[in-house]
């Protein structure tokens, strides 16, 4: 029996039961579409995380106090003051692999301009913080070494703050208040866009000296941020900082560090792991729905075989071999799953594009996901269609003909 003839019989049988065919296909369509959509969401998220991390700069190191035990109680790293301004100064002068270092204190606070107010992140940093972050000033200038030494009440603001507080006014030279302390704006930062933890441009930066002395809720530095001289030297810089701080903090050999040094790379790896898990989780759910679709095919094919026992008997009486009957039913289930697969791929792609456009989600349609789900749906057709088809092929012609 020719392939073409087998295919025609299968298509005819499917066409004869249009509603059932469509409903069965729907299971596969939904399965494949959700695999494509879920994988593209997962990959979209991981791509945007990757992009964000590299926009932060991969040579940046953050030093925070370690979580230490005092009297058997764990204390959060931010509650203890093991890092000092002197540590930061020592790192910048004594570590050759470190380009710049800045103490940092950060808090979310309300700022006031005229009769308007705005909640934003207030950073107390050194004059070189924009160099560490590789962050240019769009308007005006970053505050200077003199401003830091003299605890000047000046600040640099992010573009989101400007958008929200200074609709028409030129922000340079204006005065905003942080906890009643007036700060004169000397510069506006370039727009950096979304990053981890939200809008990177929603911030204001003041000299850390001013922050520590004038802003009552900023009492000690929380971390030291520094940049290695290049991305390749990041690990060398970590080693230098580590031994310097151990020496400065008088930590004996065998004792644990009282600080933690994290690079953006570590963060990137952690994030990649998380988003990888997310992709895996989403695809697992989607594959389960594909599996359910496959079971739907098996169910319908079993019904279809039982309904058509007489037809099978007639075909066998006229010379169809068991193998011909097997092929006929396998073709039917494969047609169901392949058509379903193709429609599912198209709807998955369309859905991903719609999500990207209207739900503000980053989606990335991967060729692998399309190929894999297509092959998988074909496999589903063969796998779940095989048992019913095999049952049909094993029928005895005379028994089948007697069947009512």
């Amino acid at each position: 029996m020719t392939v073409w003839a087998t295919m025609r019989i299968a298509l005819k049988a499917l066409y004869a039961n249009k509603l059932r065919t469509v409903l069965t296909m729907l299971g596969i369509i939904i399965g494949v579409a959700s695999v494509i959509t879920m994988v593209s969401i997962g990959q979209g998220v991981s791509k945007s995380v990757e992009a964000n991390i590299s926009s932060l700069g991969t040579n940046i190191l953050t030093i925070t106090p370690a979580t230490i035990k005092s009297g058997g109680v764990h204390q959060s790293g931010f509650m203890v003051q093991t890092l000092t301004v002197d540590d930061s100064y020592a790192i910048s002068t004594e570590c050759p692999m470190v380009a710049y270092a800045s103490p940092m204190v950060r808090r979310s606070m309300q700022i006031v301009y005229g009769n308007q107010n705005w909640n934003t992140s207030v950073y107390g940093v050194s004059y070189n913080y924009n160099l560490i972050r590789n962050w240019n000033v769009a308007q005006g200038e970053f505050f200077t070494e003199q401003d830091v030494k003299g605890s000047s009440k000046v600040c640099v603001v992010g573009s989101s703050v400007v958008e929200n507080l200074f609709v028409n006014d030129n922000p340079i030279g204006q005065v905003i208040r942080v906890q009643k302390v007036p700060f004169r704006i000397v510069g506006v930062l370039e727009t950096k866009g979304e990053g981890m933890g939200g809008d990177q441009d929603d911030c204001i930066m003041v000299p850390y000296t001013t922050a520590l002395s004038r802003i009552s809720r900023m009492k000690y530095i929380q971390s030291i941020v520094c940049s290695a001289i290049s991305e390749d030297m990041t690990n060398a810089a970590i080693n230098e900082i580590s031994s310097l701080l151990r020496q400065r903090h008088r930590i004996l050999d065998g004792e644990e560090d009282d600080f933690t040094i994290r690079s953006q790379m570590d963060l990137a790896e952690a994030m990649a792991e998380t988003t990888g898990m997310l992709t895996l989780f989403l695809s697992a759910i989607a594959f389960i729905s594909l599996l359910v679709g496959g079971i739907g095919i098996m169910n319908i094919m079993l019904v279809s075989v039982t309904e058509r026992i007489r037809e099978i008997g007639i075909r066998m009486a006229l010379g169809a071999r068991g193998g011909d009957v097997l092929k006929q039913f396998l073709f039917e289930s494969m047609t169901l799953s392949l058509f379903g697969g193709v429609i599912g791929i198209l709807s998955g792609v369309v859905l991903s594009l719609l999500l990207a456009r209207f739900a503000d989600l980053n989606t990335f349609i991967s060729v692998e996901a399309i190929v894999i789900s297509f092959l998988f749906s074909a496999g589903v057709g063969v796998f779940f269609g095989f048992y019913p088809a095999w049952q049909a092929s094993k029928l005895d012609p005379i028994e089948a003909l007697r069947h009512e």
């Binding site: 007489r310 007639i314 075909r315 009486a317 006229l318 010379g319 071999r321 193998g323 012609p397 003909l401």
Partner: protein, 256 residues
Amino acid sequence: MRSSEIYKVIEVNKLNKIYDSGEVKVHALRGVSLFIEKGDLVAIMGPSGSGKSTFMNILGCLDKSTSGEYFLDGKNVSNMTKDELADIRNDLIGFVFQGFNLLSRTSALENVQLPLLYSRARAYHSKERDELAKKALDSVGLSGRYNHQPNQLSGGQQQRVAIARALIKNPAMILADEPTGNLDSRTSVEIMNIFQTMNRRNGITVVLVTHSDEIARFADRVIVLRDGKVKEDIRNDNPENAEEMLKQMPLPEDDL
């Protein structure tokens, strides 16, 4: 031993068939031995339950005997595999059933082509299949009904489609189990006319089961079964001619 001048299309020796459905065993055939000559039109008769259908199913390679030998066209069929039997059914046998056994929702043309789809000796492409199917339908007088589906045809017409299907591959023999069982007397004679014509003109061996003496009169030989055994085996040298009889019968319009 075979004689030289006659050709035995069918030869069975001590054929037994026991249906074993757990508790009850039915001995449907008890040592049937006979042969059927090529070119004969044979009627098998006998009371209900005597084993006629059982015998036909074995002759048609649809079922296997419990013991005994069966030679079809000189080949020993008794120990063939399922696939070999399927090929035999396709190549050598044309079936006509009492219940027609046409595929529903399928046109006459497509029903008639079915045996060609499963042909292993050679493949037929769709144009060729259509042509052969039309020829077969023409030969049973159904020229105008190519695209009718079974539910759009009368019983007699459905049986003609079934006969066309049985004839399409030019089989060595036609096996028909009560082919006129559901038809009125005139239509029955029309069907017998087709069988007789095929038999006389093309030399196709025909074996049919019937309950009716009227039908049996058209046969060259009548075999009567009872309780799974051959009770009588009568040769009729002067069979009735269906074509002649039809001419004398009133046409359906005149029935009023």
